[in-house]
Subunit: 310 residues, 2 copies
């Protein structure tokens, strides 16, 4: 990473998950959208993390994030319990049921950006309550690119705030079902076009094991997912995707046209690592050579020889 | 098409469908796996169709197939009713319910190949009862490549016959759920590997609007689907895919390695046309320039600039 790579600020949840899959179970798995995003993006750009945890948050996770080079000046550690989520994945590892959610210290979280954070060039508002996303956005000086993630819960209970922040972002990353829920469109192309009218010029539709689509202006790009014969834990894959995507935009510092496509593949690359372990196990301890080798695997995965019938 | 393009023989159903979608309804829609396959493949290779219809089969459809250049010497027209299927698509146009099936003349069908068919170089056994697929295979001299499609029904009620024919084919085209049903594997990569052990070196997993995967030996290729803002009728998309895929293998007459990837894209291209109309409406009257223009759209859809982190 060169000293010139612009900084990438993320606000999101930092959590302790309890993950149950058909094959294994991991209580006390450090997770949260901010954690997965930071770990993934840390290989591509200098990351600043804004979030909150309680006194129960593992010191090892703090050390790991620091080791990854993540700037934690914006991570508050306060009295109380860390946000906790418990869920169980179905046999096919796609669908999951939430068994328990405890907001803990997240309930009273008021994000406050350290002075050195406000002029970050790239900003990602990971999946948290949209009013908190807005509060962060309003403390920023003039980010070059703003990305946003959200979830069905906020579309249900906080849509006015969500629409307000949406009007001010460049790129929305969203699940297929959420894109349809947000717009009322059953057809994905029409849903994406409807989202663009709400603000973001780039709409990235995440489809899990089916990859992701980028709608950018009138351009469409399809990024495959890497077929894996073993998925340990899908938790955080979407956040790791966002980390790879935003990380590449910051690293290239040319967040337009062709670079958006390349960013989609770095997103897919980081997501493919993420699901190979519980928590951030498989994201931690990567290096750029390993990431590049997998990027090259993606290049081969979708490559084909042009032919001509005419 | 040059005079040297090898012939492509297909055996499959020729049917009259009654299709209901959330927006429209088409009774008396000519369909069937053999029909869609032939129409799609006709742009790429000379097609010979083996099947059976009743006296109620529309003369216009016969004329259309002839106009497309499909050799109908192997299509029997017998007393009785043509095979009929009636179905309704859900709002998202992916899932569908079968409302009625009437085998008609298909119940007593014994495929008998005209003499001039037996030495066709490429053979596709479209989705029909596996014993009929076997009967056709046994009448062939020495096809260079044999492709096969099947469905959940045959996995349920005719698995021994299906396994028998599967052991003798080069390429299986199958839906995602059917691949898992056939092998008992929840993970798609493991399911595909398990299918390869049953015979076919190439396993093509069709995923509808998510595209298709090719497992060929140890190689994996991901073909995107074209995001469309309007899908009229998904019926026959898988058969049109197979027609484009096998059609390109015959046309290139080099059914290996890189050409399999290109064939996947021609399959995707023909499938994308198919869903834009009821019956074979949107497949009929294409030409190679239109097909090539859409192939080029696919090329752009998944193209990205290589980058290097090292």
């Amino acid at each position: 990473m060169t000293a010139q790579t612009p900084r990438l600020l993320v606000v999101g949840s930092v959590a302790i998950d309890w993950v149950i899959t058909p094959r294994a179970e991991r209580p006390e798995a450090v997770g949260g959208s901010g954690t997965f995003f930071s770990m993934a993006a840390s290989y591509l750009a200098p990351v600043q993390l804004v979030g909150v945890v309680g006194r129960d948050f593992p010191e090892q996770a703090i050390a790991d994030l620091k080791h990854a080079g993540v700037d934690l000046d914006g991570l508050e550690i306060v009295d109380g319990k860390t946000f906790r989520w418990k869920g169980r994945y179905h046999d096919n590892m796609n669908a999951r049921d939430t068994l328990d959610t405890q907001l803990g210290v997240f309930a009273d979280f008021k994000p406050k950006l350290p002075a050195g954070y406000r002029n970050a060039e790239y900003l990602f508002l990971a999946n948290i309550q949209p009013d908190l996303q807005l509060e962060v956005l309003e403390q920023m000086e003039r980010p070059r690119i703003v990305g946003l993630d959200t979830m069905n819960l906020w579309i249900d209970i906080a849509k006015p705030s969500l629409l307000k922040v949406l009007a001010r972002v460049d790129a929305l990353l969203i699940n297929e079902e959420e894109a349809m829920q947000l717009t009322g469109e059953h057809n994905l192309v029409r849903a994406a076009k409807a989202v663009q009218k709400l603000g973001p010029n780039s709409v990235i539709v995440k489809r899990g094991e089916y990859g992701a689509l980028l709608f950018h202006g009138d351009d469409v790009f399809s990024a495959p997912a890497l077929p894996l014969d073993e998925v340990a834990d899908p938790t955080g894959a979407g956040d790791a995707f966002a980390g790879g995507f935003m990380g590449w935009l910051a690293r290239s510092n040319d967040p337009h046209g062709e670079q958006l496509r390349t960013a989609m593949i770095y997103g897919s690359t980081l997501a493919s690592f993420c699901v190979q372990g519980f928590s951030y196990d498989a994201l931690f301890g990567l290096d750029r050579a390993k990431i590049q080798a997998r990027f090259d695997q993606f290049a081969r995965l979708s490559d084909f020889r042009r032919a001509d019938l005419r």
